[in-house]
Symmetry: C2
Subunit: 583 residues, 2 copies
């Protein structure tokens, strides 16, 4: 299944036969998922040696290009070395404009089942002729689709029942004057049904389509082997039946989100209204039970990270690798009966590896962490019966340089900047992003990624429409208005190639601050409870308010974690980590 | 010509005859101008007693509604009293959604020559049937259209010649693969041709259309009486010829901006591409000569305001009114041979009048300013051969309350917040706006308007695409990326109904800060040179950096104005106003 240069030649034979100038392979599935199952991922991996989560691969008759974003520039240029595939740095260059359009790589083949409608239309509107071709049959030893059963969430885990969610959707459809809603996005479906699955690692979703209509009934399309219970008021059909079903219902006025539907599905409906699924915002705004449960499992997750922190410092003489540590952290997390998976592959990176934003240590070849290491950056999270976490800490080990101390302090200032902002209703992440970056910008520094993203509830670790970004990115849906109940990460960082990487990340719950004659005001409550290493802070760079914020955060962390701690040694360790800092 | 209730009944007779449920009068002209000539303004004024610059008037068979935005809530509710016309507060309510749609006021008449295409489409897409009707013939004693001559700008006033600007447009049209560009927006036309006019008070534009095409020639449509010179490479036609001309060229592929074109003009083209006119960004980015000239006339404008400041304090015992003061300020400005008009009606407001954001004192009934007055808020600007200014100062007179001191200091902090920001390329006003509002938001305060707008060059005082706003407003085009050469106002304020209003406004030129490995960084250079009253600042609310900013700004103001001052008394006054403050 691994990439070989010959695979590109195999596809080129078909390009010639089918009179195509190129073939486009996206990292995608029929549901516009950000992370896809091994079955779907194998399509890109068979033709390109790149292990990141986001990339587009273009194969032409005599060349090949892989485009990825700023998170992966360094990693991709290493992994593609010798493959004959050129790296296109999205943001600086554009695969579509600078390669496909400029070199006129069309007619261009791609699978209409794997490209979403929005991307499809964008390419077509640029004058690129697209042809529906699926060359995935070329993949040898392809992993099979998951047969894992889906499972119902206990009613203590959901504020709203399936019935209440369907009623909400009916009401929104009525307001939009449509009769039905076709939902392709897997996290929306899981959220509406209050069930979860295991089809995509770290993403507790299951491949399916959901059709919601008061008039035509509710219909779930799913591999029947995966579900062994019935659902009130929802008919269950085999997964592939969706195509026939939609043909039979092509004239029903249907709400469909073109950013979340394949071009193939989209083309089947004749009387459609493009728009966000009502479930999209419903899922993003966490209600009472979701908030209580998330806070509880965040403390449990914090305990795992505290144990890990201690383990790291107790084992610095043992020459363990980044991979060993990430394995150990997984153990700590899964030791809680509430944790059933990680929420993404753990990033555990030492020194220059940490400069690669999304470095994931592999069993073979990952770096050793020892007393000489300056930092171990760990970005990780868990899936719990009670919520989803996403936390980064930069653990300090050896003696840092002045530059490192400076950059670490800047990163913390950025985190505090957003965390302590008060903002008026109708603000979005675009409004607030500068509160993280302003200190870095004053010094000509910037990190090449968003400042944060929405987090699901026992669901995908990336979720819209909330997020922090300082400009409008058409490809990302992270400029939704912030409203109480949304959970967003704040994860500023400093990345210095071949030197080090620093990132500190918390999860912020949007809550009401106060209401005055001038409007409603919101603020953030931090719901990640993990000590922030204070060993190498330059307190002279911090304002009194920032130091106060840090101390009161550590008081909160101590209070939240203490009830879960049994051993005095661990409690002492926590007390030491959360001790008040003073200038 | 003044409003009478009977005028509404006259229009209702025609509604019945034409089988319409309502009639919509916009504050508009065929060129989507923000400010319109007395001829066009008379349409709304004949049917509603409101003197603000922005409003929509809806007349139904048995009712009438005037909708306006937050700047005018208080003013409109006063002026409409007893008229039988209901006020609709846009932002809190919506004329379209809450009145026209909910009450089904359609078929709805309106003039297709006076509604722009974007508004037209928005209404139609909501399901509102529009009928092209022009009832302006009902207006008695209507002001006539201007016959003022247009005038060429001296070549020292423009960095680019007409030829260079046309070449730039040709190039952009080629890139967009279209053959022509139809320009309706008057400031764009004036900017391209390097000529100015006097058709709209305070806005040095002239009613015209411009058609630019390398293949089909360049054509200006204008009242021939108004132009007594020829233009290189531009054919001149009578204004009304535009309709026949477009019919003859309906199949030429033409770039047209639907936000700036009337529905009537837009409908005439068969092969159109909707998009921004190339002249739009070209006009917003000021080049070498524009910047040098603007800085020079800003100093001259600052001198007028300094003289005014002294005059105000010398005359507090004379019971002069707001109107008297605004007249005097106009005199000071026009005493410079470079000043040829104001850039908008001067706002001069004392006490509670200043809480009305856009209050404009009238000859009869304006308030007296005396030693008991706390503040005189003056928002004003001039049109100069060399640039356009827009400055607000809140002049402090009597003894302010603690609350006033607090709010005045907050306002200055907001101004300094934006003025001292350093930001990365691709940032826009949405990115930066919070740097003004954050201190107010922390206290549950907010001002109900944008923080700033682009300023033209010897042109309209409001210009896109730059501006500061914390959310996306579909109706306003002020979220363009900030680039060096753009001039934007920063004008935060505190408005307390029935108490007082505070606003401080400077003009900021975007300039390069530095370039690093992480990108290009920009900052603002303040180009308004007017002392900021420091008498009632609470310096304990200000950081060391803020105090430093204020002192260095006053040093700059002193340096810029001193060369223009002849009298020692005025120089002493300037020195006193710009003296260093200390905590």
């Amino acid at each position: 299944m691994l990439f070989k240069k010959e695979h590109l030649d195999e596809i080129r034979e078909y390009l010639k036969k089918d009179n195509l100038k190129g073939y486009l392979i996206l990292t995608s599935d029929p549901h516009s998922s950000e992370y896809v199952s091994p079955f779907y991922l194998s399509f890109r991996n068979y033709f390109a040696p790149f292990s990141g989560s986001a990339a587009k691969l273009l194969i032409t008759l005599d060349n090949a290009y892989l485009s990825t974003d700023g998170r992966y520039y360094i990693q991709a240029s290493k992994e593609l070395e010798g493959s004959g595939i050129n790296l296109v740095k999205e943001g600086l260059e554009s695969l579509e404009d600078d390669i496909i359009l400029k070199k006129e790589i069309y007619p261009l083949g791609t699978s209409f089942n794997l490209i979403n409608e929005l991307d499809y239309e964008r390419l077509v509107n640029k004058g690129i002729t697209l042809v529906d071709k699926d060359y995935s049959f070329l993949i040898k030893d392809r992993p099979s689709l998951s047969k894992e059963k889906v499972f119902k969430l206990d009613s203590s885990l959901n504020t709203l029942s399936l019935k209440e969610k369907l009623d909400y959707i009916y009401q929104k459809l009525e307001e939009e004057k449509v009769e039905a809603n076709l939902i392709s996005s897997l996290d929306d479906i899981a959220s509406i049904l209050n069930i979860r699955g295991k089809d995509i690692p770290c993403n507790p979703v299951f491949y399916s389509y959901l059709y919601v209509s008061k008039k035509y009934g509710n219909h779930l399309f799913i591999d029947l082997d995966k579900i062994d219970f019935e659902l009130n008021n929802v008919n269950i059909h085999p997964y592939d039946e969706i195509f026939n079903f939609l043909k039979e219902h092509e004239n029903v006025s249907t709400l469909i989100d073109k950013t979340k539907s394949s071009a193939k599905i989209y083309s089947l409906l004749k009387n459609k209204v493009n728009g966000k699924n009502p479930s999209y915002l419903l899922k993003a705004i966490k209600l009472e039970k979701e908030i209580i449960n998330t806070k509880k499992i965040q403390a449990i997750d914090g305990l795992a990270l505290l144990k890990f922190h201690k383990y790291l410092h107790d084992n610095l003489s043992n020459n363990l690798t980044e991979f060993d540590y990430s394995k150990k952290l997984k153990e700590f997390r899964l030791s809680s009966p509430l944790c059933f998976d990680l929420s993404f592959n753990t990033i555990a990176a030492v020194g220059s590896n940490a400069a690669l934003m999304h470095y994931s240590p592999q069993e073979v070849g990952s770096s050793v962490v020892n007393k000489e290491s300056i930092e171990l950056l760990v970005d990780s999270g868990g899936q719990y019966y009670g919520g989803t976490t996403d936390t980064t800490r930069t653990f300090l080990i050896g003696t840092p340089t002045k530059e490192f101390i400076h950059d670490y302090t800047l990163t913390l200032k950025a985190l505090i900047g957003v965390s302590s902002t008060i903002f008026i209703e109708n603000s979005d992440g675009h409004t607030i992003d500068i509160k993280a970056r302003e200190f870095m910008w004053k010094e000509g520094m910037d990190y090449k990624c968003g400042t944060g993203h929405g987090v699901g509830y026992i669901l995908n670790v990336h979720e819209g429409p909330n997020g922090f970004r300082y400009y409008v990115s058409k490809d990302r849906d992270d400029q939704g208005k912030l409203v109480p109940g949304m959970i967003t990460t704040i994860e500023p960082g400093v990345y210095k190639e071949n030197k080090y990487g620093i990132r500190i990340e918390n999860n912020l719950l949007c809550v009401n601050a106060f209401e005055t004659n001038d409007g409603k005001f919101y603020k953030f409550e931090t719901i990640t409870y993990v000590p922030i290493d204070t060993k190498c802070l330059d307190l002279n760079m911090m304002s009194d308010e920032e130091i106060k914020w840090l101390n009161s955060y550590h008081k909160l962390v101590n209070e939240k974690l203490t009830p879960f701690i049994k051993e005095q040694e661990l409690k002492d360790y926590l007390d030491k980590l959360t001790i008040e800092v003073k200038r």
